[in-house]
């Protein structure tokens, strides 16, 4: 596609359920990033992929959070046993990975845990 695509746009889930958030980066972009943004806050880095490897997953807040990337393309962020504090917008971005070039963002998934 022409841009970074995230799905779903919105997700409401019950506390304790697992959720999967999907990111389709721009074709050919080797670098992929996940961020979390709570209401009125800045962007919190979660994890960074270069190809299918994650050289930096230091931002994952707990072992309930995991992410994978396959085919140097789509990435899935999984949150297990969701808690109310997981409610946030989850943003994905990709870049061509050829050095510090600009990052292109998707429109995010707004997750609400009730």
């Amino acid at each position: 596609g022409a841009g970074v695509s995230q799905s779903p746009s919105n997700k409401v889930t019950e506390k304790g359920k697992d959720v999967e958030l999907r990111c389709d980066p721009i074709s050919g972009h080797t670098a992929l990033y996940w961020y979390r943004q709570r209401l009125g806050q800045g962007l919190e880095f979660l994890i960074y992929f270069q190809g299918n490897s994650a050289p930096d997953k230091s931002g994952l807040p707990s072992d309930r959070f995991s992410a994978e990337r396959t085919g140097e393309s789509v990435s899935t962020l999984t949150i297990q046993r969701t808690q109310q504090e997981d409610s946030a917008v989850y943003l994905c971005a990709s870049s061509d990975g050829q050095g510090p070039t600009e990052a292109f963002f998707g429109q995010g998934t707004r997750l609400t845990v009730v």
Partner: protein, 109 residues
Amino acid sequence: SQQGEEDPQALSIQEGENATMNCSYKTSINNLQWYRQNSGRGLVHLILIRSNEREKHSGRLRVTLDTSKKSSSLLITASRAADTASYFCAPRGYQKVTFGTGTKLQVIP
């Protein structure tokens, strides 16, 4: 970490006035990028200034970079209501892209 910190946290101006926001960082960089975010959704890249550049223009945007002070500024001239958004800087080396808490700009019509 190459995370930048934006200042001020919030800025409110009248339409037509200029808006200036600043970014400070701590490590050496290859370039510094500014982004805008509307309504809590995806960020949009505005402008990139390389470490060997001191000033760059794009339309109503003017960015300066002072690597000796590890700081950058973003000036928006003749502001419009549509410029109301949050603005983030991203100092870039060869590591992950990280962002600060941003400057929330409100332009009052």
